[in-house]
């Protein structure tokens, strides 16, 4: 029962470096999300996807890009990392949420702790 798997678990970057965070889910969920969690601020949505090949901006998208080439994978990219992007990043997935009578909670991965120096 893998659920939602995130890699890597930890990463340290220097300012200006780039990296990609990987998220994979094996539950055949349509919706996938990337959140960041900072002390005192809760989880904030960066980008989300409602299906393969589609992505959209959340609350705090600046400095990040995403891709959903396959239904099971959702990638988060940082093109030029900044210290303000030091955070814990969580990927989540869920079933179709718009259909009447169908609902599922968000299933989260275990997070990626990113430090940008």
């Amino acid at each position: 029962n893998a659920g939602v798997t995130q890699t890597p678990k930890f990463r340290v970057l220097k300012t200006g470096q780039s990296m990609t965070l990987l998220c994979a889910q094996d539950m055949n969920h349509e919706y996938m999300y990337w959140y960041r969690q900072d002390p005192g601020m809760g989880l904030r949505l960066i980008h989300y996807s409602v299906g393969e090949g589609t992505t959209a901006k959340g609350e705090v998208p600046d400095g990040y890009n995403v891709s959903r080439l396959k239904k099971q994978n959702f990638l988060l990219g940082l093109e030029s990392a900044a210290p303000s992007q030091t955070s814990v990043y969580f990927c989540a997935s869920s079933l179709f949420r718009d259909r009447v009578g169908i609902w599922s909670p968000l299933h989260f991965g275990n997070g990626t702790r990113l430090t940008v120096t």
């Binding site: 005192g40 989880l43 949505l45 989300y48 718009d98 968000l106 989260f108």
Partner: protein, 112 residues
Amino acid sequence: EDKVVQSPLSLVVHEGDTVTLNCSYEVTNFRSLLWYKQEKKAPTFLFMLTSSGIEKKSGRLSSILDKKELFSILNITATQTGDSAVYLCAVEARTSYDKVIFGPGTSLSVIP
């Protein structure tokens, strides 16, 4: 602006105590209120509440929603050290993508 506020932000209790965690919200097009438990890593789902006054219960945990006053409480009775975690309150709004707004969380520590 949509927001979710939780109080207290942190709490330390002794085993066996009963605790009440609070969540208030201001959200346009409210759909449901959610409670999650986060122990070190991934948040895990506890409850979804959509109707006022109907208590949801799971073991020693229970929760209720007041849609008129825009708040919810999460009660934990006879606390155990395993209840130590951050409890996240979130609200779903009816938008194009079922927006979920999270509160900052309440950090609960249960000491023996």
